[in-house]
C-alpha cells in the first residue's frame, strides 16, 4: 500500500465505457497545484473526471483525497466540486439557489457563503436571475461558485472555457488562475487547448486514447514531449521522417547535429517548434543550430505571429513576429537562410 499523500492521489484507476477503456492510470495532485489534463477529443478526459468524482463506476484502482481512501464512497459523499463545459446550471432555479443547492443538499450546518461567493466571482448583480438569461461567461462563473459552495477538497474543471467566445474566455481564464492560486486546493482541469493548458496548469498530464502518455511540470512537458502525439498536442509541427546514425540525423536536406539526435539509430521522425525558426539573409556563417536555405513560398499575416511557408526539403512553416517580417522585408520567392535553434527540435524513433 502506498502511503496516502495530501491532495489527490489516483493509482491504477481504470474504467470502461462500451469498447473504450480508460487507464489503468496513476496521477497525483498536491494540494496547491493545478494539473491540466491535455488530450484530443475522445481521449477520455471527461470520463477521467467523472470517474474521480464517483459519477461513473471504476473497474479497478484506488482514489484517495486528503489522505482518505474515497474509492468506495458515492459521488455525493466525496465533496468534489465539478464544473462542466456547458455549466449545467439548474434551469428552474435562480443563480442564488443554484449556488445554495449544494450546502442545502448536504445539510451541512456551515455558515451561508453564497453572498461571499457571489461577490468573489463578480456575479452579485445576477443573484436573482434565471440561468437562461445569462451569458456564457456569467454561467461559468455561477457554475464555479456553485462548485465552490460545498467547500470542496478537490476541484474538477471539465473544459470550462471551451464553450466561451474569445473575450469571455480570457476573462474567465484570468479569474480561474487567480481563484486557483488563492484556494490552495488541488484542481484538475481538462482541455484540448494547449494555450489554456499552459497558462493554467502547474503540471501537465497528456491523455491519448484513454492512456496517460506523459506527466510532469507543464514547462518541462511542453519543451520535452515524449512522443509524437504529445508533441502535436503541444504545438510542435512535424518536420518529417529521416534516419539517424552516430549522433546525427538527416531529414531531407537538413542535417541535425543536436542533442536531440543523440542515442538514436535508424528511422526517426522529427518535430520542430514553428515559433523557434529563425529566418535571415543568406550566407552569414554557419547557423547556431541546424539550418538550410529555402525560398519563401507564402506569407500569411495571422496574429499574433505571421506564418511563413518555406519551400525546402523538408518543407517548413515558420511563425515569426510581424516586426521581423518587416525588418527582413520578406517577399514571396525570396531566398532565405533557415535556422532551427537548439532545443527547438525533437526526434522520435519512427514506428
Amino acid at each position: 500500500m502506498p502511503t496516502p499523500r495530501p491532495g489527490l492521489s489516483v493509482s491504477e484507476l481504470s474504467a470502461q465505457a462500451g469498447p473504450f477503456t480508460l487507464g489503468p492510470l496513476s496521477l497525483a495532485i498536491p494540494p496547491d497545484r493545478v494539473l491540466v489534463v491535455l488530450g484530443p477529443s475522445g481521449a477520455g478526459k471527461s470520463m477521467l473526471l467523472e470517474t474521480i468524482a464517483g459519477l461513473r463506476s471504476q473497474q479497478g484502482g484506488q482514489i484517495s483525497l486528503t489522505g482518505t481512501d474515497i474509492t468506495g464512497l458515492s459521488a455525493e459523499r466525496r465533496r468534489i466540486g465539478l464544473v462542466f463545459q456547458d455549466a449545467a446550471l439548474f434551469p428552474h432555479l435562480t443563480v442564488r439557489d443554484n449556488i445554495r443547492f449544494g450546502p442545502r443538499a448536504s445539510r451541512r450546518s456551515a455558515p451561508d457563503t453564497t453572498g461571499d461567493l457571489l461577490g468573489q466571482l463578480g456575479i452579485g448583480h445576477l443573484a436573482d436571475r434565471a440561468p437562461r438569461s445569462l451569458s456564457g461567461g456569467e454561467r461559468q462563473r455561477v457554475a464555479l461558485a456553485r462548485a465552490l459552495a460545498i467547500q470542496p477538497s478537490l476541484l474538477l474543471l471539465d473544459e470550462p472555457l471551451s464553450a466561451l467566445d474569445q473575450p469571455a474566455r480570457e476573462d474567465m481564464r484570468t479569474l480561474l488562475q487567480r481563484l486557483l492560486a488563492e484556494l490552495a486546493i488541488p484542481a484538475a482541469h481538462v482541455t484540448h487547448d494547449r494555450d489554456e493548458a499552459l497558462s493554467i496548469g502547474d503540471d501537465l498530464a497528456i491523455l491519448v486514447g484513454g492512456q496517460l502518455r506523459q506527466t510532469g511540470p507543464a514547462t518541462h512537458v511542453a519543451t520535452h514531449p515524449a512522443d509524437p502525439d504529445t508533441a502535436r498536442l503541444l504545438g510542435w509541427a512535424e518536420l518529417g521522417h529521416g534516419t539517424a546514425a552516430n549522433g546525427a540525423a538527416r531529414i531531407g536536406q537538413l542535417i541535425i547535429h543536436d542533442r536531440a539526435a543523440g542515442g538514436l539509430h535508424g528511422p526517426v521522425q522529427a518535430f520542430y517548434r514553428p515559433e523557434d525558426i529563425e529566418l535571415g539573409p543568406i550566407a552569414q556563417g554557419p547557423p547556431p543550430g541546424a539550418g538550410l536555405t529555402a525560398h519563401v513560398q507564402e506569407i500569411i499575416r495571422t496574429r499574433p505571429l505571421a506564418r511563413v511557408s518555406l519551400s525546402c526539403d523538408p518543407p517548413i512553416t515558420a511563425q515569426i513576429l510581424h516586426r521581423d517580417l518587416d525588418r527582413l522585408q520578406l517577399t514571396a520567392g525570396q531566398q532565405v537562410q533557415v535556422s532551427l535553434l537548439p532545443g527547438s527540435l525533437r526526434l522520435f524513433r519512427a514506428r
Binding site: E50, A53, G54, L55, S74, A75, E76, R77, R78, R79, I80, G81, L82, F84, D86, A88, F90, P91, H92, L93, D97, F101, G102, P103, A105, S106, R108, R146, A147, A149, I150
Partner: protein
C-alpha cells in the same frame, strides 16, 4: 392553400358530429338527462375512476419512464414495445384478457376475492380496464419529459452532495413535470372515454359510456343523445381545466414553491 384545405376537412370531420350531437338536445332534455340518477351516477363514477386511474398510472408510470429515458440495457427496445402493447390490443380483447386475470377465478382475482376485493363488476375492475388501455400515455409522456433533460444536471446535483433520490426530486422531476402532468391528463382523458374493455370486466356499475350505450339500446338515439351531451360537456370541461393546469399555471406555481 391545399394544406389548409386538407387539414380543414379533417377538422370538420371531427367537429361536425360533435356539433350535430350538441344541437339535437334541447336545454330541457339536457336538464332531464342530467337529473336522471343513472346518468349522474354513471358520470360521477367515470370521473372518479378516471381520476384514480390517472393517479395510479402516474405513480407507477413515472419510474418506468425514467428507466426507459435514462438506463441503457439490453432489451430496452423490447421493454418500450411492451409499454406500447396496450395501444395495439383491441379494447374488447383487453377486457377479456383482464377478465381472465382479474375474474373471480383469475390469477389475481382469485386471491383478491379471498381478501374481500372483487374486480368483476366493481370500481376496481373499471380502474383495471382503464389503466390497461391508458397507461402507455403516462409512461411515454413522462419519458419524453425525462429525455429532454440533460443528464449532466443530475450528475452536477450528485457532485454537490445530493443523493440520487434527492437529485431526482429536486432537479429531474420538477423539470419533467410538464411531461408527467400531460401524461396524467392524457390518461384521464383516455380513461373517461373507455368503453370496450370496461364493458367486459364491469358492465355494472355502469360508467358513463356504458350507461349511454344502455340508453341507446333501450330508448333509442334521441334519449341517449341527451346523456351523451351531458357526458361530453363534463369530460370536455374537466379535460380543458386539467390541460390548462398541466401546461402552464400549475407548473409556474410548483416552480415557485420549489426554491
Amino acid at each position: 392553400m391545399v394544406t389548409w384545405l386538407l387539414g380543414g376537412l379533417l377538422l370538420a370531420f371531427v367537429v361536425l358530429p360533435i356539433i350535430r350531437l350538441a344541437t339535437t338536445s334541447s336545454v330541457a332534455s339536457l336538464h332531464a338527462a342530467a337529473s336522471a340518477a343513472a346518468v349522474r351516477d354513471a358520470t360521477l363514477l367515470s370521473l372518479q375512476a378516471a381520476a384514480i386511474t390517472a393517479g395510479i398510472a402516474t405513480l407507477f408510470g413515472v419510474p418506468l419512464a425514467y428507466i426507459l429515458a435514462r438506463a441503457s440495457f439490453r432489451g430496452r427496445n423490447a421493454l418500450q414495445a411492451l409499454v406500447d402493447l396496450p395501444l395495439v390490443v383491441p379494447h374488447t380483447v383487453a377486457g377479456i384478457a383482464l377478465l381472465f386475470l382479474f375474474g373471480r377465478t383469475g390469477w389475481v382475482g382469485g386471491p383478491a376475492s379471498h381478501l374481500g376485493v372483487s374486480f368483476y363488476g366493481s370500481q376496481w375492475g373499471i380502474v383495471a380496464a382503464m389503466l390497461f388501455v391508458s397507461c402507455p400515455f403516462a409512461v411515454n409522456s413522462a419519458r419524453v419529459g425525462f429525455e429532454a433533460i440533460d443528464p449532466k444536471l443530475e450528475r452536477a446535483a450528485r457532485s454537490l452532495g445530493a443523493t440520487p433520490w434527492h437529485a431526482f426530486q429536486r432537479i429531474t422531476l420538477p423539470l419533467a413535470l410538464r411531461g408527467v402532468l400531460t401524461g396524467a391528463v392524457l390518461v384521464y382523458a383516455r380513461s373517461i372515454s373507455e368503453f370496450g374493455a370496461v364493458v367486459i370486466i364491469a358492465y355494472y356499475p355502469a360508467t358513463a359510456p356504458v350507461e349511454i350505450y344502455n340508453l341507446f339500446l333501450q330508448s333509442g338515439l334521441t334519449q341517449s343523445a341527451s346523456a351523451a351531451v351531458v357526458l361530453l360537456i363534463v369530460t370536455l370541461a374537466t379535460f380543458l381545466v386539467l390541460r390548462t393546469l398541466a401546461s402552464g399555471r400549475l407548473l409556474a406555481q410548483v416552480n415557485r414553491a420549489y426554491p
